[in-house]
Structures are given as structure tokens and as C-alpha cells.
Subunit: 141 residues, 2 copies
DNA sequence: CGTCGCATTGATACTTAAGCTCAACAACGG
DNA sequence: CCGTTGTTGAGCTTAAGTATCAATGCGACG
């Protein structure tokens, strides 16, 4: 049990090679709890080429091991997905933490709106911005 | 009635000057029905400095005259808002058209999830991706 | 009017993020 | 061992947006 055995498995099972650079990326994100940028990740992996970090993260997104978190200011971070399934994000503007949640009725509501508009839905995103419970507790009010 | 009188009013009422460059930008977006990039807009306004186009669009976003549309592939376009109020987008991956919709029950569902997580909600986004009614009608199926 | 002050403009340089290229390399199957 | 294919990484290129800063415009005031 070195790192993220399940993720590694998922890579191999899907037909991709589990190479040393890919393992290094998996390793690095397994040891991070904060959402990260590619640059940050790349800096922590000086022996791995930037392009490879990009490629690997893209790959991991497809496998739903990592997800893309769009910030309120237009920036983007990435986060190792806890659930590995479809979900949405609660993004704290104070501490930057990201919490996943899933709500079938929210998705249903989204689908309903698409149907109403005669739209064939193919994907969607929903991001919630604000202050997380612990930042509220610790700070004012 | 030259262009977008209401938008122009909104600019002035809010204390900003309605200058010639700003009017030109308002004019240009009033005559566009497709979501645009800043570059495209800037190209259509050769007499207006690029920086001014950026500044003006940013201003119009604050006034909710224009809204930022994040695409599925991570790109961004801008669109003159029809409603000028809070809404979400249906984005067609085939023709690129953007339709606004508003659904109080969707927003309620979002707020409920925030509350459940002890989160103080501050803003949110929801984008729907797929094929619009006319692209479906004209194409296959 | 004349003039002062502030908002605005725009050419340009700069920044940052992200993606692409392509030759070298590693793995694998036979 | 050799050819085929997937993978890598240094450096190049693009895109998007921002910073600079002098010049200009406009309004207020006397
Ligand atoms: Zn996520
Ligand atoms: Zn969903
Ligand atoms: Zn909109
Ligand atoms: Zn909403």
C-alpha cells in the first residue's frame, strides 16, 4: 500500500500504463488535502515535466479521480475527488476548502429545466460559493 | 433610440460616464446575438483600445448588463443579458447559443444544500450543456 | 470663459495560464 | 533482437487578462 492503490488500479484497469511519472502525480495528490493548481503540483514534482503533469491530470479527470473546481474569480483549481462520482462543490472563499455534495433533487431540477427548454442535456455544473462551517464558527458572528 | 437605451441609462444612473467608447461597446454588443469573446469584440471595434474593451465589459458585468458564460471546455464567452437579473445558462455545444433561464426551485435547492452543510452561501453558478431545441430539430434524430 | 481636478482612454509592455511540438525514450509482443 | 506503440519533457506558442502612464475629455467652480 504505497499511495492511492484504488486510483492506480483504476488507471490500469482502464488500459493506461501506470508509469513512474503517473505514479508520482497520484502520489502527490494523495498527499494533498487542499485544492491545487497545476503549477503548484508541478512545482512539487521537479522531476516530472510540466506537460506530463497536465496530461496526467487531464487523464485523471476523465477517470473521475480528480475534478476541476472553477473558482468564483474565474480561476481554476483541481481536487482529488472523494466520491469518484458525480457531485457538486461548496467552495469556501475564506479557507479555500472544497466540499463535495450530491443531491438527486438538484440534478432532477436541472434536468427538468433542460427538458422544459427542449434541450438535450449532456452535462452540467453547479458550484456554490461562500463560507464553510468552520470558517463561520471561528470568525465573526 | 440609437442602441441600448436602457443599458445606457443604467450606466449613467450608476454614476458612470457614458463616453463615446462605452457607447460604442454597448452598440456593438447590442448588435450581436451570439456570445462573443473579448477578442472578437475588440476586433469589431478597431477604434477602441483593447484595454478599454476589457474594462467596459468588466463594468457591464458588474451592472449585470453582460454576463460571463463559462463553456464546457473551460473557455469563456460573454453575452448581453436578456433579463438583467439572476439566471442560469443553457449552452448549446452545437451552435453555441446561450439561453437564460431562471428557476426559483433550483435556487432553493441550492440554498438548502448550503444550509445542510452549515455553509453561508454567497453566490453560486449553474451551467447546463447540451444541444438546443433547434439543433436537435434540424440534425439527427 | 479659464482653469483645476478627476475620470477615462489607449498604445504598449507585461503576466500568467495553458496547450502544443517533436524528438527521444520505454515498454511490450513476437 | 526489432519494430510498434504509448509516454515523456524541454521549450515554443497562444490566449486572456492586467499594469503602466502619458494624453485627453469633461464637468465644476469661480
Ligand atoms: Zn469535486
Ligand atoms: Zn449534478
Ligand atoms: Zn447570462
Ligand atoms: Zn441561481
Amino acid at each position: 500500500m504505497s499511495t492511492a492503490p484504488d486510483s492506480a488500479d483504476r488507471l490500469e484497469v482502464t488500459g493506461y500504463r501506470l508509469t513512474a511519472p503517473r505514479r508520482a502525480v497520484l502520489d502527490a495528490i494523495a498527499h494533498t488535502n487542499r485544492p491545487f493548481t497545476i503549477e503548484e503540483l508541478s512545482d512539487r514534482l521537479p522531476n516530472i515535466g510540466r506537460a506530463t503533469v497536465f496530461r496526467t491530470i487531464k487523464l485523471l479527470q476523465e477517470l473521475e479521480i480528480v475534478c476541476r473546481v472553477p473558482l468564483e474569480d474565474g480561476g481554476v483549481r483541481y481536487e482529488r475527488s472523494r466520491s469518484g462520482r458525480h457531485h457538486h462543490h461548496l467552495i469556501c472563499s475564506e479557507c479555500g476548502s472544497v466540499t463535495e455534495f450530491n443531491d438527486p433533487s438538484l440534478d432532477a431540477s436541472i434536468e427538468e429545466n433542460a427538458t422544459l427548454a427542449g434541450f438535450e442535456l449532456d452535462g452540467h455544473s453547479a458550484e456554490l460559493y461562500g463560507r464553510c462551517a468552520s470558517c463561520r464558527g471561528g470568525g465573526a458572528l
